[in-house]
Symmetry: D2
Subunit: 369 residues, 4 copies
């Protein structure tokens, strides 16, 4: 509906704001009443996303302090829309003036110029800026708290690969300390190499891409609505709303397509608690679009950041002539280190929506629950 700025059916989020406008914000309609909520609940994930925290991210300083404008009363959600906002500060838009006719290769500049007839706010990439992912985090952090509070669902994401360097062993323990290094990779040895690779690319005026993996645990069996609202459908739709994402796979994904059925099928058995589980999890926790009670496992590929310092060829749209482009300003040499909290939040947003649709989270939470 509208022009694409809304997602969800029961837990509905509408994003607004521009990178260099007055603010960015999100309104969530459909959050149940009775959830304890304060700005700190949202700020935590925003702080993990914000730039300027290490050498591997852009050196721009964005405080990104969230304010809740509505929907919370006496420390609890009320059932009314929750509007969250971050005021933009000190944006320097001059560099965008210089390049507004020379679209950056790999960026939305050119199709956006055509689509919006020149009316779009191009400063800081406007609505196409990675900065807008902060609005995804606002709604998603709220969803994450709701899922944890009501159903005990946890969602964790981490860097699996950067510039072709892949993490080795991933364990429950090292996932827990994934934020202890600059690239947010659970494997500290790989993390060190990834960091070095990013710094090298940065020195060369270039950028790297990578892969984020995400795991959700504690899900009930049967979330998801086939055919068109399968969990994979709705999760992938939301994940592709993150700029720079070009691929999504669940469970064994592309690799699984090379296996045989007898290898890829996950065999059922009862675990020691009497719960139906599978010996492997090639399905990534989803069968027929429905959660099967195993952890949801998903991987998402980010292309290398489009805005690089190196000189590139492009066109001057106003003259039709070829032009050299050196993108000014400060940009992330790799967006992957900042992506895990975004991916966690986006996943949570969709799972919360489905949990409400399935009747697992009621419209009003019990007091004291």
């Amino acid at each position: 509906m509208g022009a694409g700025n809304t997602i969800g059916e029961r837990f509905v989020a509408m994003s607004f704001g521009e990178s260099h406008g007055r603010c960015i914000g999100m309104v969530v309609d459909g959050c149940p009443a009775g959830l304890p909520l304060s700005e700190q609940d949202i700020q935590g994930q925003l702080d993990l996303r914000k730039p300027g925290q290490s050498q591997v991210t852009t050196q721009r300083k964005e405080e990104d302090k969230v304010e809740i404008l509505s929907g919370v009363f006496n420390g609890f959600t009320t059932g009314a829309p929750v509007c969250m906002i971050i005021w933009n500060k000190d944006a320097d838009s001059r560099s965008y003036e210089a390049i507004k006719n020379t679209p950056r290769p790999g960026h939305a500049d050119y199709p956006a110029l055509v689509k919006y007839g020149g009316f779009a706010d191009y400063r800081g990439s406007g609505r196409f800026s990675g900065r807008l992912t902060a609005t995804l985090v606002m709604a998603g952090a709220l969803a994450q708290k709701l899922l944890k509070h009501t159903l005990g669902i946890d969602t964790v994401a981490y860097t699996l690969e950067i510039g072709g360097i892949r993490a080795g062993s991933i364990t429950r323990e090292n996932i827990a300390s994934r934020y202890s290094n600059d690239v947010r990779c659970p494997d500290p040895a790989a993390a060190e190499k990834m960091k070095e690779a990013i710094l090298q690319a940065k020195r060369e005026g270039d950028s790297l891409g990578g892969i984020v993996e995400c795991v959700s645990t504690g899900l009930p069996v049967g979330l998801g609505e086939p055919i068109f609202s399968s969990l994979e459908s709705d999760l992938s739709k939301a994940l592709f709303s993150i700029p720079a994402v070009k691929a999504v796979e669940f469970g064994s994904g592309f690799e699984g397509s090379k296996k045989r059925g007898s290898e890829n099928n996950d065999t059922y058995y009862l675990d020691s608690t009497g719960k139906v589980v599978t010996r492997t999890n090639n399905a990534g926790g989803i069968l027929g679009g429905l959660s099967n009670g195993m952890p949801i496992v998903m991987r998402v590929a980010f292309k290398p950041a489009a805005s690089i310092a190196k000189k590139q060829e492009t066109l001057d749209i106003s003259t039709g002539r070829e032009a050299d482009l050196v993108v000014p300003g400060r940009h992330d040499p790799c967006v992957v280190p900042r992506a895990p909290p975004i991916v966690e939040c986006v996943m949570s947003m969709v799972l919360a929506d489905h949990a409400i649709r399935s009747g697992l989270i009621p419209p009003v939470l019990k007091k004291g629950a």
Copy 2:
């Protein structure tokens, strides 16, 4: 909305029916008035999808003859909902009775049983059957005709890989003859090997997966609605509604995430007709969620079919005991050869929706146009 059986905003399709029920069908609401349409326009794609056409697909015979029940008058669409239906024939449901308490590994049986409290129609896998992809083809073939008729958009899909065997050279010419072999792979040499691999797996009571690639050409610049209705978001949502799909990537996808920005960015230039194009197409025709005028290139991974003849371990849900399972009935040893028409149709359904949303296709087509 509802229970997930509807997709689209302006070109809206609602699927109904069960694998072994009376019929399967699709209602499309929002198809513009004035499109010449007959059952033959739909039947062509259905015939390419239907089983029993070669050794590599299931030997079940399904005639799959579509009837248009509404929305067409004097040979043109009227603007009213187009209901299309296929009457089911001679389904043999006995085998499903035998396995209704022993969920097939890799299939939706178990989560569906839990989700629907035992009320779901399990015969022939009910709503979770691959047979329901015929409803996607109904809506999608209509969309494909609409796109071709109004905007000249073509969408072609073909088998890129089966059982790890990948097509070599793909050209405009061999794509055109993709349906000349049983596996629908443009590369005839690879096609031969793929076929052999499927027959080998079949002999062993096993199954294979694979990858389908899809290319849409003739798109205008600027289709797609960021943030949440980006082309990638809406295309992936629809593609994951096809059973057995576990991964979707656009352009350079996962491979692109290993490259540097300077390699992966697509440089702009003017082609000989004065059109803005890019030298490479790592973006797969989509930047910032918007079409950039280059062909959309997408790949989708199908897991090996879950229903295999080989004996498998599972649980008897009614007793909680471990049980051996030999899936009865005739099943596809590999669904990939039947997938290309489905993928074409699903892609078209989403592109038609966006073309209407963008105002590129009007509610009433001009007579004689």
Copy 3:
């Protein structure tokens, strides 16, 4: 979404078919699994709606036999879409050929001709025929059974006024026998006069309008979602989808707007069972868009039927010249006697949707409940 043929959020109904096409039908997506359902449950309300039952309705014979094509298995709903269909029989479309260029005053002919560019199926008024209300009855009768089965909610509608003749005393008892006379008015004396007035208008080649009143009882407190999905909002939206409806009011309605607040406010007290009730019900059971536990009381005005036998002036659209029109065919001299089952069903459709949205009806009904 689409072109307006769908209603509801959780209990979603999509209408298809044309008056003189092959069939008319409705697909309901979102009906919970586990509701006992057979065609008889739907046929009852359809029989009360169908024409040819008395002198005061059109003498066309329409059998209107419903078939359930999907979504029911072993006598229970499965959670999958329920497709219901009526095959059209023996429609005589010749008369519409004669008048297709001379739009009937008061009917949709002229705007429909302009809107659909001449592509619409005009036979029997196509999608604008009162015949399509049978699709509302299909979805609504299902909703009515669901509400009764799960929450004990009853909805009854009856004729309050025809041709300015208003029912006198309305009681619980005479409402129960509302179908014992041809005009479906609880007050038998008024019913007699109404019938006479219709027959008189019919003899003069003219038509009458009237008012239907509807009461829903057994509702919980708090149904409805302010601001835009208030009960009044969603009920009126659905009611205005019935052809010939031109006004809707709740509780004291227009009359209430002439009162003072001290008269119109409904005072709270506890009834003998300890339930919070009000002494009067000027609010018609809805405050702030939410049900307050009192019966919902609503009235809906039907204009006199547009298709009359009397000669009328109009334009010949093909020539722009004035023309005389005598509408051929057999038409209802008054649609009100056939309206009560339609109104009951439309009300039920909306209440079922809200009951599911509020979590009062779960996605799967308990077995044996």
Copy 4:
């Protein structure tokens, strides 16, 4: 979708904020790019709505100064969501503390308390306050400008009746000066009596209701999407989102239901410009749910305001005992004088949505147009 705070399909508005919270606001997604827009365009209608302008409205002073936070760049809309906000000032919530357990008769207090489990923000009636109509005005004033700018559509609303006193002659001229008296009635003589009646009711601690009439001119033929998105359906849905509205009628409405078809049908002819028009307008500009090119005429009934100074009986919900209630604070003795700008805006919001759906307003407006 969500919890009912969103309306529209293409021109989508989401309302947020509470009467005594930090702010109230509206986000509009789907406004085409290229519309000249400043805060003054919105403020004009807000100023006509705001209280404290005369003796007949509440003496609360609310400055209601709107700020546009997003979606406008260089004086034009960009195609991105337009977020508009009013910061609340100096609300005095103490009086609501006193009555939070004694629900006001005729107000949403009681069902809201039950529905939201005590979590709702009850201060100033929270989301149920008439203050929230300012958010309708925000979106609607934007819609009104869009309709005027692109299609030349005008919508005017005025007071037709207050306390049973009805305006006499309504003419094009006196409609134009409808804001020249305190009650916004075009007929100055009736206006004087209405004002006196309100002041009398106020002196007695009581309140009055009334009727607002609304006329839209300049509409093309064929707006509206039958069956469920008929113009009457969508307009009434939106109108019933205004607090205190209990009835809506189009054209001859309830009165028309007493007429004969031959009287109520509107005869077609060609006017002097060659346009197809009707001699009467009993249809209120809508046939079969579609605009027919004649002015849309609609009337909406407001009940007398629920919050009155007079002592009323009610229940103490916390004890179950009967209680006397004297509503503290300053309230409107009649909301009708403030309603016309709200009604105009709500009508415009729906018409803009349909104009975009019908393709009459494109996603990007031409520069200089």
